[in-house]
């Protein structure tokens, strides 16, 4: 069972906007004043940081402990919701769809209830896309246009939930199908008609330092916490 780090529940918090981190090899500055770089990470992986999370109520303190417990010291990967509410496109129609884990069980929230999240059935991958593709077609049945910088998730069969970000909108056929570039490259192939989640994107991640996620509690009642996550495989 895959558990969820509910970003919305712990809002407001200071969030370092998710970014793609990678590995670059530099050789230093050459005689011609050029600094060659070699990027070997194949596109990078997601990182996100949360700080100044206020745990001012009993429920929030308990919820903070619960997700740490479910994360099992970093042994259990966790799905982190990315904060995209304001940046997401407006998608009409669709319905709330339960987020299903790989074993078929429903992904539970911190309090044990099931999480229902919109997978935006009105947004699908058009024509499929191969593993590591960076250009895909997305069909939006009814809603606003897609813009560069917007993020979406795909729930892959093997790689679980992975997030991608639109880099450019190359083409718009005027009927709701957009050809876009994405980063990182697809972790797994997409089939034609596979639904994409713009409303509630997220990614399978783990805490960068599971030892540093415990909350600081003052007066035995109030506290604050922070955590950094990195995409996991």
């Amino acid at each position: 069972m895959t558990y969820l780090f509910d970003t919305a529940y712990f809002a407001p918090a200071k969030i370092k906007d998710p970014w793609l981190s990678g590995r670059v090899i530099e050789s230093g500055q050459t005689v011609s004043n050029i600094m060659p770089v070699v990027k070997t990470d194949g596109g990078g992986l997601w990182r996100v940081g949360f700080s100044s999370i206020s745990l001012r109520t009993r429920e929030r303190v308990l919820a903070w402990r619960a997700w740490i417990n479910n994360h099992d010291g970093g042994a259990a990967p966790i799905i982190v919701r990315f904060p995209e509410l304001r940046q997401a496109p407006t998608i009409s129609g669709g319905s709330e769809v339960d987020l299903v884990a790989l074993d078929g069980s429903l992904i539970t929230a911190l309090d044990g209830s099931t999480i229902s999240t919109g997978s935006t059935p009105g947004v699908v991958c058009h024509g499929g896309a191969a593993l590591r593709a960076t250009t895909i077609r997305i069909t939006v049945s009814a809603g606003s246009v897609l813009l560069p910088g917007q993020r979406f998730s795909a729930l892959h069969a093997v790689m679980n939930k992975r997030c991608y970000e639109i880099g450019q909108v190359l083409d718009d056929d005027g009927a709701g199908t957009y050809q876009v570039t994405i980063r990182p490259p697809l972790r797994e192939a997409l089939s034609d008609g596979e639904t994409l989640d713009f409303r509630d994107p997220g990614c399978l991640m783990r805490a960068v330092d599971p030892e540093a996620v415990a909350a600081d509690i003052d007066l035995l009642r109030f506290g604050g916490a922070g955590v950094d996550f990195i995409e996991t495989f």
Partner: protein, 203 residues
């Protein structure tokens, strides 16, 4: 003919440019074959060179901690390099390396390859396999870093001319020379020498 001979001019220009997107591959011919790359996620690699299966999937799930520097070996030179693999990623292949079946790894062909990708992270060159060696010793290392345990598997790989025995010409004692050439008395006075001995001539 160099290993880049079948690369297009575009691919060569990408490799020679200031911003290179490269994929580093490592293939160990165990059973089953271990295929790892330095990037993230999976990547398909075409057949050719050291890779025999078209569309082989290389895994970049954090197994490969780094590729050591390799050298071009000339005139029978040899070298031994060590790969560090993540000891926490227990795939079937890595488990075989770290377990008592490490003897199955010894002698397995190890190939290092690379290819370049364009600005869209799509492969634009065939895979070049510039270095090949034979797997030798496996060791499991355990270190602590600020209270955390870091476990790695080290795979020592030798080039084709690497051997464990001392070179035949390593010793110039009489028994060694007699072993090479039974009637040769060239070294029969070596045992009378000591370090710093001055041999006066004529006697």
């Amino acid at each position: 003919m160099g290993f880049l001979s079948d690369w297009s001019d575009v691919a060569k220009a990408q490799l020679a440019g200031a911003h290179v997107r490269a994929a580093l591959l490592m293939r160990v011919r165990t059973e089953p074959i271990m295929r790892m790359w330095g990037g993230v996620g999976y990547v398909e690699v075409p057949a050719g060179g050291a890779e025999t299966d078209d569309g082989a999937i290389y895994s970049g799930m954090g197994e490969l901690l780094g590729l050591p520097v390799v050298s071009q070996l000339l005139n029978g030179a040899s070298e031994r390099i060590t790969f560090s693999l993540a000891g926490t990623v227990v795939t079937g292949e890595l488990a075989a390396i770290a377990s008592t079946s490490a003897a199955d790894v010894r002698g397995a062909a190890v190939s290092i390859g690379f290819f370049v990708m364009d600005d869209d992270w799509q492969r634009i060159s065939p895979v070049a396999w510039p270095w090949r060696g034979l797997a030798d010793m496996v060791s499991v290392d355990r270190a602590t870093d600020q209270g955390r345990i870091i476990r790695t598997i080290s795979l020592s790989v030798g080039s084709l001319f690497t051997g464990r025995k001392r070179p035949d010409t390593g010793y110039w004692s009489d028994p060694d020379q007699r072993r090479r050439s039974p009637t040769d008395t060239f070294c029969d006075r070596v045992k009378t020498y000591e370090q710093g001995t001055t041999k006066v001539w004529p006697e």
